[in-house]
Structures are given as structure tokens and as C-alpha cells.
Symmetry: C2
Subunit: 192 residues, 2 copies
DNA sequence: CTTGCCTATGCAACGAGTTGCATAGAGGAT
DNA sequence: ATCCTCTATGCAACTCGTTGCATAGGCAAG
């Protein structure tokens, strides 16, 4: 399990509350590690009782109090140890791939519409990534000499951009294939 | 949850036992949907009691008996209904991206070695995919006029190939970035 | 002849992830 | 006035996924 480690990295990059972490897991970190606020609160509590993070209650005007978390030395050691462990193969779960193969046993028309919608989502995500890259790394507002943290954030973002571009190209391929199959079926060649 | 649906698709492509399914989830299907044999047996049992699949006990010589599963009409309906549901955004969990961002707070040397190993795994996977494509779809042994099922299997495989190529290129980028940071640190510019 | 691997299925316990709900004050919209 | 949204935290119940272990016959290598 690595949610703890994702939280440690995020808190090292910038300390904050559970709520703030949950927001980040909706945005930047969420693009490669999803987590709900429930998970985050639960894990933060455990990490606190294990001494990995330190808490400080912060009063705010007009808003509820919050618990400000930062990484304690034992947490840093835990993260360091984890970083030295071998990288495990990712366990993937691609709904879409299952649906595509399932389309052999169903009318593909509906799937075509869904793939088009899916393509649009990825297209928007790519635009979003590129805007973020411009803003934080390559634009005129970006730091001239980025530090290690920023360089590493950038290379992860470049990975996201490459992934979205690859996905969009593949989805074109998928759509072409689905159209071909539908046309063949309409021609009275139900080849399954 | 979609393991049921992945199993239904796999059984429609070719009926078989839980063990055989588990093998497939180590190979072709496993490249986009991971599952252990425990999960498969448990879900198959539930699917059987829900009438989604039919079982037939098969005696074998020299091997234990097996339970041969095939999709029953209700299972087909369930799959069809699921195929018409909108595609949900995938919930990703990329250890590697977390580790890369974590490298800002640690010595990157170890991570470099791990990324190189990881790169090799993906390189081997790409080779394996390409061999499978040659064997089943583009080589001389492949069917001249593939049916819908084969065309869809092929387009999913092309997705896997595109993914591996993209990943390998990105890992080069990651390695270059890690080397740059290590060099900067060695020069006495610990920029974090 | 014993150790280990392959086929084949399964239980039990645990840990991780999801979903629904609850609280509670501040601010804006209708 | 009332409803909705945002900040901020949390419980409880449930499902899903993982890990370790168990059985059991056949086969091959040492």
C-alpha cells in the first residue's frame, strides 16, 4: 500500500490539512494516485499515531478550524525506505479495454458514442496539462532555474502529457475499428 | 466493479475453467485487468448462483476434475447492459510517479537503478506484445479475414503496444532528469 | 525416493477502497 | 427566508482485493 507514501510526498512538497490534501488528490497528484477524503483522513490519523506526521490545530476566521499536518523525521525515514524498495509492476484495470473486447458480442453503436465522449475527456485533460505546464514550467512566469522538486514534478507532468497524446491517437484507432465493424455488420456480414 | 464483466467477456471469447481464466488473467487479459485465482473462483461461484454462467464438471485423465464454465443468457444480458453504461474514468495508481516526486527528498541514485530495471521490464513486455501481434494478427499464420472479435482484440493489443512505446520514451526522459539532478547535487548544489 | 512443479479448487483473515451519511458555521443566490 | 455551496472533519457499513494456507494426484528431475 502506498497511499501513506503519496501523502508523505505531498506533505513534503507542501504541508497542509487533510482537506487540502484531498483537494490535491482531485488535481495534480490525483492524475496518478486517486484517493477520497475518507481514505486520507483515516490514513492521516494512523500516520499521526505512528509518529510519521505532526499536527497543529489552526484557527481560521470565517472557516472551521483545521489540522495542519507536516512530516516528522520518522515519516521521512519511512518514505526513504520505501523509495529504496524495488518498483512493483502496476496493477491496471482498464474498463475501456474490456468494453472494447465485449463489443464483439454486442452492437458497437453505443460504444462508439461513449468512446467519443471519452476522447473528449482526454482531450480536455491534455489541454489542462499543457496549460499547467505553460504556467508552472515553460511559460514566462515560470522559474528560470527550477529546483529538483520542480524538475521532478515537470517530468511526471510530461509523462501525463505523453499518456494523453498516446491515448487520443489510440482512441482514433479504436473508433475507426468500431466503425469498420459496424459497417461490416450492416452489410449483412455479422462475423461473430 | 467490473471483474464479473471481464470474466464474461473472456468466457464469451472462449469458455473454460476458473483455472484457465486465471491463466488468461496472467497473460492477455491481465495486461489490462489483473485478478488472482482467489478472486476469480469467488466471483465465478457468485455468478453461477446468480445464473450468469453455467457449469459442467469435466473429468480428465492424469489431471484433477475441472469445472467448465460458459456464459448463460442472463449473463449475456448483464454484459450487454454494462456495455451500454457510460465509461467511467479510470482510477490510476502509479507507484513510479509517486517515487519520482519523492526523489526530490532523497538520493536519486537508487531510483535510477530501479527505473532502469523497470525500463527493461517494459522493453520485454513490448517485445512480447509485438511477437503476439505477429503471431495472431499480422504474420503469415494469421487469418486473412479476421472477424470482429479478432479485430477488437487486435486494437486493444495495439493500445498496449502504444502504451509500452510511450512509457519507454518517457522513462528515458525520467532517467535523463534524474541524472541531471544527481550531477547538480554532486556539484554542491543541493537545490531542495 | 524425495523434492519440487503443474493442474485444479478452495477457506479464512485481513487490509484497502467505496458509499452513504452526519455535523457545522460562513457566504452567496433566488 | 430558504436553499445551495464551500470549508473541514469524521463514523459506520460494506465490498473488493490480497496473502497465507490447504488439499491432492500426476509428473519429471536429481
Amino acid at each position: 500500500m502506498a497511499l501513506e507514501h503519496a501523502i508523505l510526498v505531498s506533505l513534503l512538497e507542501k504541508p497542509g490539512s487533510g482537506y487540502e490534501l484531498a483537494r490535491r488528490f482531485d488535481r495534480s497528484i490525483g492524475y496518478f494516485w486517486t484517493a477520497t477524503h475518507q481514505q486520507i483522513y483515516r490514513v492521516l490519523k494512523r500516520m499521526e499515531s505512528d509518529g510519521w506526521v505532526e499536527v497543529r490545530e489552526v484557527s481560521q476566521q470565517g472557516k472551521p478550524d483545521k489540522k495542519h499536518y507536516s512530516v516528522a523525521p520518522p515519516g521521512r525515514s519511512v518514505l526513504s525506505a520505501w523509495l529504496h524498495e524495488p518498483i512493483e509492476p502496476e496493477s491496471v484495470r482498464h474498463d475501456l479495454a474490456v468494453k472494447i473486447r465485449g463489443a464483439a458480442f454486442d452492437d458497437p453503436s453505443d460504444l462508439i458514442r461513449q468512446v467519443e465522449r471519452y476522447q473528449q475527456i482526454h482531450s480536455e485533460r491534455l489541454t489542462h496539462y499543457l496549460a499547467g505546464e505553460q504556467r508552472d514550467f515553460t511559460g514566462p512566469e515560470a522559474p528560470a532555474e527550477p529546483d529538483a522538486m520542480q524538475e521532478l514534478q515537470h517530468v511526471v507532468l510530461r509523462g501525463g502529457i505523453a499518456y494523453e497524446r498516446m491515448t487520443l491517437a489510440w482512441l482514433d484507432d479504436v473508433l475507426a475499428t468500431l466503425h469498420r465493424i459496424r459497417a461490416a455488420r450492416a452489410d449483412g456480414r455479422p462475423d461473430c
